[in-house]
Symmetry: C2
Subunit: 407 residues, 2 copies
Amino acid sequence: MKPNVLIIGAGGVAQVTAHKCAQWAAEFGALHMASRTRAKADAIAEGIRAKGLEAVITTHALDAMDSAAVAELIRATEAGIVINVGSAFINMTVLQGCIDTGAAYIDTAIHEDPGKVCETPPWYANYEWQRREACEAAGVTAILGAGFDPGVVNAYARLAEDEYFDKIDSIDIVDINAGSHGRWFATNFDPEINFREFTGAVYSWQGGEWRENEMFEVGREWDLPVVGKQTAYLSGHDEVHSLSARYKDADVRFWMGFGPHYINVFTVLKNLGLLSEQPVTTAEGQQVVPLKLVKAVLPDPASLAPDYTGKTCIGDLVKGTRDGKPGEVFIYNVADHKDAYNEVGSQGISYTAGVPPVAAAILIARGPWAVKRMANVEDLPARPFLELLGEMGLPTRVIDAEGDRAI
Amino acid sequence: MKPNVLIIGAGGVAQVTAHKCAQWAAEFGALHMASRTRAKADAIAEGIRAKGLEAVITTHALDAMDSAAVAELIRATEAGIVINVGSAFINMTVLQGCIDTGAAYIDTAIHEDPGKVCETPPWYANYEWQRREACEAAGVTAILGAGFDPGVVNAYARLAEDEYFDKIDSIDIVDINAGSHGRWFATNFDPEINFREFTGAVYSWQGGEWRENEMFEVGREWDLPVVGKQTAYLSGHDEVHSLSARYKDADVRFWMGFGPHYINVFTVLKNLGLLSEQPVTTAEGQQVVPLKLVKAVLPDPASLAPDYTGKTCIGDLVKGTRDGKPGEVFIYNVADHKDAYNEVGSQGISYTAGVPPVAAAILIARGPWAVKRMANVEDLPARPFLELLGEMGLPTRVIDAEGDRAI
């Protein structure tokens, strides 16, 4: 019997995930979607109907910070797979709901505590990995970080391991958004999560140990397919914290592209204390978390989609040796904001993050990724995932000594 | 009998005002100070005792938005003069308290409604001037805008009228702070009031009508005494809204100096909506006025004083004709941040704003400014005010065809 799917969240990424589940509905049983604000889920389900897709999505209101409520909804919907594309603060309660009910769990970003930023590396050890034994004991498949980055880029590293090198020396993940949303300033996903990524120390894994830098301290110009020459900065990111465990002897770094305007706005907000996750008290005695106000004044990332143009390029430059000979390969995807909007009503950043967890769900439903334990994406076979993503709209290409081609 | 004085407010300007009242205590009866937070007034009174000044300042807690409470405190303290150096939101209630009790009223900035920014010009007509008849009827002396700008610069214009020209063609008020506070960013007075000055239209009086520009739209380089070449921008400011009534046939403009760093920070905050006086709702449902949070994260202006170095130059370039011959005069003051701190524990911006209302109070106590009606500073004799200010630490100089000299 095909598993019922419960999608948790109703933001820009969830909208893509829901569309893709509906497009690939033949792989699943019933489709459900739950959000704190049920009306947001209703709007997505209505949008999918308006696209002429036949799949029915049943919506629910859910406080996903309450693991008992999550478990109750899993039981009520008889969900076999839960795709968590809600806020980064709900991972642990949703995961617990899955462990308690036996449903498979998929997320696209690491758990965060609202009151903390940038904890001790490796970040996964602070939360998710502490549930490894519980997943194993319950026979629960839990796939962590199955978005694009983290997610697809982890699979790119695994593909390099499987098909290109005997030994990997370095993995540099580069994320360039060369698109334009036409607003004075906006973040491409939840501003709160976006800024939290860059307000703490930048951790990278180099020479077998954690290195710390400041944000925007280390920049490098990259020359990438389609998007051309772009400056990207060493940044903290989830996948560094799992890839460094599998590839202990390699350097693992994440590079995010930023223009001078983003850096200026970020710097002003950060230096004034407006990106703090800690409450401040106004002269009137009101307690306010600055970052939550900044989120409130910025454009809703989902609202950017209609006007978004241009392309993203995200990939892994992997260096290593094969048969004693050094080499390098760049494994990457290029996505187009306008194509994403035309297909599912979302911009490209949401598209690249929201499609991969559906591919992961299909691979659980079909069997190859139904591993009945907790796994990061690089722990699982990469080729079936990447080939399925090619069919689903996110094709993978490689550049090596033999040129630029599809995998 | 010498009048008792009640100072309302306990910020950086109020601290200067209190020090100067204590230094010139022989001109007054008993000294009182009231603030929403009485502890702030206590700290100022204690600082004055620590300077070895003999004058005793009695402190009170007061909600100055409640005119009945203001009147009650005026009666209890038997205050003959109220110096309002609190927030710009309390002018009308404090003024009403004075009208109801007969006490003289002095303020240093125009009334503002917390929910509105940059109302229809002339601004004084929206609030204070609507109480002209009430003051006249009650025989109450109410001196509006008796800080530095507005205040001393209005007296400079009047001095030009009295002593330099038969006819005035233009008044350009230029305010340059060439000091350095050593912080990444800070405003020199209450951030809320500071930013509110620049978020609306820039009104100037030119060619006999109100002109509107945007902030930072019109900039001009000035070459001023001591501070040298500085760029200042056409800005909205209180004094334009009273001087334009007395000098209908002259152009009246206000120019404020800004460096590129201030402009950048201001532009980021404004474009993101963080300088709005209108509440926004966070994802958690909390209502927050962005400007009040920005105020909360910025340094307290009073805290800048110990490290502040450099000088301010504020003056009026007045052009006109005398005996049919055109001419121009620049009437100005230079103040030093460190000197201000050494004398009264405040930075120069607070010093230049906080001393003039004490001079106004002395002129009321002595008689020449006890006019028993509402007046802006340019409506009153300028020379006694400016000469007294020279004795009190704010000397006036002039530059004309005959050179640069004290008045």
